[in-house]
Symmetry: C2
Subunit: 315 residues, 2 copies
Amino acid sequence: MSDPQVVALTGGVGGAKLCLGLSKCVLGDRLACVVNTADDFVHLGLRISPDLDTLLYTLAGCANAELGWGRQGETWTFMDALERLGGPTWFRLGDGDLALHVERTRRLAAGESLTQVTARLAGRLGVTTRVLPMTDDTVGTCVHTDQGPLEFQEYFVRCRAAPAVLSIEYSGAETARLTDAVKAALDSPELQAIVICPSNPFLSIDPILSIPGTRELLKSKGAPVVGVSPLIGGQAVKGPTAKLMRELGVTPTPTAIADHYEGLIDGLVIDEADRDWAERCGLPTLVTPTLMSTLEDKTRLAKQTLDFARAIRVG
Amino acid sequence: MSDPQVVALTGGVGGAKLCLGLSKCVLGDRLACVVNTADDFVHLGLRISPDLDTLLYTLAGCANAELGWGRQGETWTFMDALERLGGPTWFRLGDGDLALHVERTRRLAAGESLTQVTARLAGRLGVTTRVLPMTDDTVGTCVHTDQGPLEFQEYFVRCRAAPAVLSIEYSGAETARLTDAVKAALDSPELQAIVICPSNPFLSIDPILSIPGTRELLKSKGAPVVGVSPLIGGQAVKGPTAKLMRELGVTPTPTAIADHYEGLIDGLVIDEADRDWAERCGLPTLVTPTLMSTLEDKTRLAKQTLDFARAIRVG
């Protein structure tokens, strides 16, 4: 194993896209992705890790681009049969996707850690990037809404992120520990950049940052920390980021992202549509198209972000 | 609920075929099928009940006739994906079949009994016949072979019943209890016949008979008990019955079946190919074609078996 040169902090879809781009610029295990696991839950007796799965499928080149989750070439016989049997169908699980959850659950039950299981699954899928769960402990995102407290998947999938969010709590985070693999990646003597991917700051990145010691460790090596804004013209490409920010009383602009990550990031990548906000961010910015439709988009944005990071003088 | 008129003891494929025939003669919950659960096992964290499943699918009209197990119109995306992930693939689980196991496992974990779960699943599949697990306790078939002791599915599926069988043990049977539903069915004031289906006597029927009190209860109401031989010309239609009998030192003939069930059955249905054995069985026999290819075969054999039972004078 080589020491990582780049560490990315990421959640689901948007973050996974940038990680795929980064994996084209930083080969093999020189790239380490630290992944949010606060969305993880047990459903139908299966341990499901949505952000890990999205990243694995994306890096393996088998993500379902139309759905934005799950595997391409998926079949749905299980779900149809489960519906006929009266089982819960609000969380859709494709037939092939099920194999990942069943195998993960089986190995966890046999005593392997989530980190070990993830490394094994990544290997089987031909993924050489390090895919690192933020923790092997249990952290859960509890979303306090105008309809009461909801577990993350209840809020996000079952309620389609419709309830207004009052506050967000990361239960278990205060006692959770970063894994040794995450600590080693952030302690790499060859670390050149840390990238905060354009995932939801509140639902995907904050859980990682909420684990004690994470912020200190991110700054310990003096590598530049660069964020990529998840907003384009006041909207998120996908997901409830902008709606959520408004509900939390924050105007969804790049400056709000900069403020949110204040003291952590040394630079922010923002979209061309938000060019006018660049000077108001109070830190170095890179203005560039951030919509990642094609692999070329992803790779270009990743390369620009890394070049931007290397050009920043951290002080 | 009506009181059952007919109770069938059954295992997998052959037994399920006759139960389907019986369900055409004895409508709705007037037929109760008591099903072997000693083949049940936990695989991939899922509780799998092969004989219950085969019977449910058969009665629901969705059994996979080509395979002899599982559902028709099945897809295999899960298995393919599991293989890619390095998971165990020796026990084949179709995508739709998985739903039954996942839903059963989920409901058992939530505190329902196997009897309750099975009734619910049967209802969802439109099955009105009573499908009754022999017990809600855990009973396992351990097959002692020339290659050492094997759990049933290891012997039957993984090793394809190739090892020579020395003896068979039903672990847990001595402390297992028949369910209240089974007891009530056998205590029905309207009971007209008890049918021992043409399942493997050693691997499917004996586990039921090994639960304390079963034999007494089968005889308590004075209803005729009729067996249907699983052999045709010294061979089983499917499965290792004949091979197993030879390994246990028993020649696979109708007389061996009659001997095996001695003291329990009041009559035996044997195939036309075994006509010459009829007089040597030492009890009333019905000689008729027993191969059940079509639904007509199944219904005819069921009707003949019930007519035969009614004609027997028990005493």
